[in-house]
């Protein structure tokens, strides 16, 4: 068998995944913190204030990466849920369910920072604008997935039910993405483009890229840590977990 394919199959084993997550989660968190520290330094101390919005535009450096993560994490959750549903891979169920609280956290950051930014710029904390409303619905979907997973006692059945909600919820992602194009919106249109020229000035763009990369590393770290916790909970009665807490191998 191809070594990469064999490694991937082995990773599906709970004790192997536990070792993998325990080893790599701190690295991902560390890289995330380091990358975000560079981005935040640039955002707060290097980039000049905006000529119209003053310093308030600096909220962009946490608002935009969080908003992108709120969509990307939901997409990842749906992909894991679909794989788990088709091939019955337990680890993918665990990963899908571990995505939900992380995505919900990024959505809360997006809504809160957007609201804080909106107060001085729009004169209001909240408006039932298409972008804001669809992002709020995304938060409710995340909470629905978390709630459904927590409500059903058998975790395999719970993961399938919550995974189905995640898969169906994916239809919301393009609606959020294009809400500023399809409807008249108080929220500003797209200024940063992956393909094509961004309308944000180049001198203001680089900290954003660091933050985007940093939040990705953070997500990987958090996903591994949360998936490890769920994996341990499901496997609590097994010998390999007891071996972890034995005096010679006790590690948190």
């Amino acid at each position: 068998m191809n070594p990469v394919l064999r490694w991937f199959h082995q990773l599906g084993s709970p004790p192997v995944f536990d070792r993998f997550a325990r080893r790599w989660a701190p690295w991902a968190f560390g890289l995330g913190l380091l990358t975000m520290a560079v981005g935040l330094y640039g955002a707060l101390f290097v980039v000049p204030a905006d000529y119209q919005q003053g310093d308030s535009f600096r909220i962009l450096y946490i608002h935009v990466p969080s908003a992108w993560m709120s969509l990307a994490v939901f997409g990842a959750m749906a992909i894991y849920a679909a794989i788990a549903m088709v091939w019955r891979i337990k680890l993918c169920e665990i990963l899908a369910m571990a995505c939900a609280p992380i995505g919900a956290a990024f959505t809360v950051v997006t809504l809160a920072t957007g609201s804080i930014w909106g107060r001085p710029m729009w004169g209001t904390w909240w408006d039932w604008d298409p972008r804001l409303t669809t992002e709020l619905i995304l938060l409710f979907l995340y909470l629905g997935v978390i709630g459904l997973y927590g409500a059903i006692e058998d975790k395999r059945t719970a993961a399938r039910a919550a995974g189905l909600l995640a898969i169906v919820g994916v239809v919301l992602l393009p609606v959020i993405r294009y809400s500023v194009v399809w409807w008249d919106s108080l929220h500003q249109g797209q200024t940063i483009r992956v393909f094509g020229e961004s309308s944000i000035d180049g001198s203001m763009l680089w900290p954003l890229l660091w933050m985007v990369v940093g939040t990705k590393f953070w997500f990987v770290g958090s996903l591994l840590a949360r998936a490890r916790a769920d994996n341990l909970r499901r496997e609590a009665g097994k010998d390999w977990v007891r071996a972890l807490v034995a005096p010679s191998g006790a590690r948190a």
Partner: protein, 58 residues
């Protein structure tokens, strides 16, 4: 205008949520391992009691 108080508030929210995201799974893992350790120690204690009884009956 600087709007610095809004910037501070937004970054505080970001830091607080990320701190929770970092700490929450660690607390959960520690709780789980503590529970497993407790069960293991209770089983070991129960096994020791059974051994004592067996010794006394002889």
């Amino acid at each position: 205008m600087s709007y610095i108080e809004y910037v501070v508030a937004a970054y505080a929210v970001f830091a607080a949520v990320l701190a929770w995201d970092f700490v929450a799974p660690r607390i959960r893992i520690a709780q789980l391992l503590r529970a497993v350790r407790l069960v293991a120690s209770r089983r070991a204690a129960a096994a020791a009691v059974v051994d004592d009884t067996a010794e006394l009956s002889r």
